[in-house]
Amino acid sequence: MDFEEPNARPVSHEFLAVVLAGFGDQLDPLTSDHGGDPCPKALLPVANRPMIDFPLTWLEQSGITEVLLICPTAHRTSISHHIHSDTSSSSYPSLHVDVQTYDESPDEPVGTCFVLKHFSSRIQRDFVILPCDFIPPEDLPLSLLLNKYRVESNWDGAIITSCWLKAHGVDKSTVPEEWGQMRSSVPILWDKKSGTLLHIDTADDYDRNSDELEIRMSLLSRYPVASLSSQYTDSHVYVCKRSILDVLHHKSMFDSFREEFLPWLCKIQYQNSRQGKYGLALKSMTTKEAHALALRHSTLFGGSTLAQDSSWRNYGSPSLKPVTFSVPSSPTRPDVEPLTGLKIGIVVHGSVFSGRVNNIATLLEVNRQVLSRTSYTPPTDPDNRALIDAKSQISSDSMIGSSTKIGERATIKCSVIGRHCVIGKMSRIAGCVLLDHCVIEDGAKLEGCILGRNTRVGPKAELVRSLTQAGYDVEAGGEFATIRNEKLEVSDWTAGPEGRGFGEMSSGDESDNE
């Protein structure tokens, strides 16, 4: 018998996906420990699917198979268990996920740059950086970004391709201020025709000069037709060339990739001094030379427009003045020195994106968006069905997890309820997100809240726009006033029998946000 082995060595994979799972400081009570077990941000469910599911399925669809997942040491077991477990809901058959840890504590958040530097030895090819809290819009496939990078790395010398999505409109008043800003867009300058990102206005630039946007003339002379907008937010998805990591090692003071390194890299495109210093490190000889000869023979290559060709300036005669005005622009905008240029590509996508799910407001908003796209149908499984009382009123824009028991006369509107929850009789839940295993006793009223895992809400309690940490126990309501705009955290052992009002509770914004 002859066992035909398939071609043993697979084709070398093009990209490595680096998924960064942080602590989630801004999602604070939800990501704090549940009695010793960590609640990683990556596993926080959005519409009853763990958050990390979304970028990983997105990766699968685009054909990338190698994933390097970096998470804090404390979260390693839970995340690794989730990813490598065999249950069908959380397995990614074509992905090969390598979970690596980085020592980090919630008090000192570590920027992306440090993490990348630390793991640069494991990253040996072009890579894609993805945050774990990115919910990709449905009409944006990752292969769009990858194709743009593939073409441009040979054509223009692209070193990064980034993706910017239209920011959600500022939506006041539904959430308290301190739960975080949904929109965090920065003004950017980019060239539409060639898809080049030219300038990002960072917070430092804003501090330095809040009235004006400072742009270099060399930028404008290279890209005279540029677009400026402040409507886009960075998706933090970057397709990068390997040589970036070498440059990163030189720049040890950079902490955040998005806020410091990327704007710095944008400046390399037109600042000749920086190009001189870092240009060689960034250009990898193989991709250029592979096609240098072919590109020289290509008919649509080379030949800058007459206005931009520097040798033109030697000819002063008026007949040689740029005649581009009467000539329509050519189909492909010629690139300035394409064989030696560096470029930060940008893909601007129009679909509305509420931001990465890294603060509470966005979490609520994203859940709401998912709910608006789905509609509730009672579960077909008879066991599950039996748990949901017929007399309960569940609006069609809610989502109920499996094995959740809903008592009679319960009213659920526009909410996401996790698995294995118990909702008592006569309770009213509107616009909330309940994670798994919550217990809501009879008569409770919840509005606009997010309850962590295993929260227990006592009978007749009222919670408006509050958050609870996993495992919190809300006392029964009644003579106490409703809890409003508060983040309820389980203090270790300092809380006395009075329950609320102790420990690390932070009372919310008192301004009336209704």
């Binding site: 084709v11 194709n147 040979n154 008919t299 649509l300 290559f301 080379g302 329509p328 050519s330």
Partner: protein, 478 residues
């Protein structure tokens, strides 16, 4: 013609319009009557009927898909058997049956409400089908299905994926460029390749390469140059020694690829440059069309050699490759004139020689080149101006090509069709495919041998008809 039509035809056309309203004729299709009506209707009327039938077909497919799949299937079979008769009559008889079947299905088995819904759906679907553009009516075989959306199937090397993208987006364009790019990438593929156990390099590498080649072909149809080069490569692979260790065999193959590029393209270009240079004299006006890498080299070399001539660059949309040639020539300080193809007639009388490049050249002497070359050659010939084609021998294709319609491609769109109004950006002036407008830009055309005076190859200057004797003369098979 329409006055001769028998009275039964008149109600027939309105009945097709009423197809959505209800079954008006339930009798079996009279195949005799449609035959006469088809022949006697004018062409326009026939086309109209055909359109309506096509729309009805689309409506039937979209509207009554799941519901009436069963009852529809049966009436379709007899209709398809009757339509095995001459095509025209078959089309005429088939679609009334189908339309009647759809209405029959719509009205028979379903309650009134859903009939109305299906009718309404059929009506909107009909509109949709009409609204949706049907693609090109003629030369629809020029267009390629959009390939870049899909993920590469099979074991495609990432460099091939990138190359496919560059081809599809016309970043690498031109026969020589594509061939060089393909061969360079194949070198990488060969170097990254490992022979699986129980297999030999010579046999398995071919199948491995075929996967890559089919990916490239799906991005953009293969050029003749690529085909010739790949055929040569396959011959080398099959001829490689089995006993050689793998790395040596791979290095030998890469060396052969390098030699091919060097001999058949680079050095051939140099020989062509020297030969064609001698055709250009001081004071000549050289006309060239679009951009050929060889012609560009010839002109630059001739200028560098001291001959003082001037160049007229003729260009055409949508590619506007002549602009690139223009800037390359101008940066070498060659005096140039630039004009678009329609203006050729005004300058042709001043031209002394026409130099054009080729995508491929066929055994009957026909030259397949960028669309517009045939016009230039024909005009020059009319004015008794020598037309010289600069072409390497590896562009020779064995077949005989008589027209440019059987195999061609569409040029990428993207040029603005008007400069005015100036206050709008050029990007917004681009004409796109619209409701009633399909843009057809063939990429290549065929210059017949009668318009060509001579072909300059690295084997010498030959008349176009004797291309096929070159391989024999050089002792090669290709």
């Amino acid at each position: 013609m329409s006055s001769n039509s028998q009275p039964q035809h008149k109600p027939r056309t309105p009945s097709l319009l009423l197809q959505a309203n209800g079954p008006s004729q339930n009798d079996p299709p009279p195949t005799g009557a449609p035959t006469k009506s088809q022949k006697q209707m004018t062409k326009a009327e026939r086309r109209e009927v055909q359109e309506r039938q096509r729309a009805a077909k689309a409506a039937k497919v979209t509207a009554s898909g799941p519901q009436s799949g069963g009852p529809l299937a049966k009436p379709q079979h007899p209709s398809s058997s009757t339509s095995s008769q001459p095509k025209k009559t078959g089309r005429g008889s088939e679609s009334p049956v189908q339309s009647r079947a759809s209405t029959a299905a719509g009205s028979s088995g379903l309650p009134n409400k859903s009939t109305k819904e299906s009718k309404a759906a059929a009506a909107t679907a009909e509109e949709d089908a009409a609204v949706r553009s049907r693609g090109l009516r003629i030369f629809s075989h020029f267009a390629l299905q959009k390939p870049t959306g899909h993920i590469a199937k099979g074991n495609v090397h990432p460099a091939i994926v990138r190359l496919g993208l560059m081809f599809a987006e016309f970043k690498i364009c031109g026969a020589n460029a594509r061939c060089i790019a393909t061969l360079s990438v194949f070198k990488r593929v060969i170097q990254d390749y490992t022979t699986p156990p129980n297999n030999t390099l010579s046999r398995h590498l071919m199948t491995h390469l075929s996967v890559q080649i089919s990916h490239l072909v799906s991005a953009r149809p293969m050029s003749v140059t690529m085909g010739n080069a790949i055929r040569q490569l396959k011959m080398e692979i099959s001829g490689s020694d089995i006993d050689l260790p793998e790395q040596d065999a791979k290095d030998a193959l890469c060396g052969k690829i390098d030699n091919y590029i060097r001999d058949r393209i680079i050095i051939a270009d140099q020989v062509i440059q020297e030969t064609a240079m001698r055709k250009i004299h001081d004071g000549d006006v050289v006309l060239t069309y679009a951009r050929s890498s060889v012609v560009q080299k010839v002109l630059l070399e001739a200028w560098a050699g001291g001959t003082r001539f001037s160049v007229i660059v003729v260009d055409s949309r949508p590619m506007l490759e002549g602009k690139r040639l223009l800037s390359a020539l101008v940066s070498a300080a060659i005096p140039c004139t630039y004009l678009l193809l329609p203006a050729l007639g005004s300058v042709i009388s001043e031209v002394s020689i026409v130099l054009i490049g080729a995508h491929s050249i066929h055994s009957n002497g026909a030259v397949f080149s960028r669309a517009g070359t045939a016009l230039v050659a024909m005009m020059a010939k009319q004015h008794a101006i020598p037309v010289v084609v600069c072409c390497e021998t590896y562009k020779f294709s064995e077949g005989v090509r008589l027209d440019s319609f059987t195999k061609n491609e569409l040029a990428p769109s993207g040029d603005s069709f008007s400069c005015f109004p100036r206050n709008r950006s050029p990007a917004s002036l681009i004409i796109q495919n619209q409701l009633n407008l399909e843009i057809l830009n063939p990429l290549y055309d065929l210059t017949p041998p009668c318009s060509i005076t001579a072909v300059v190859t690295e084997a010498g200057v030959i008349p176009p008809d004797s291309i096929s004797s070159i391989p024999l003369a050089l002792g090669r098979s290709v």
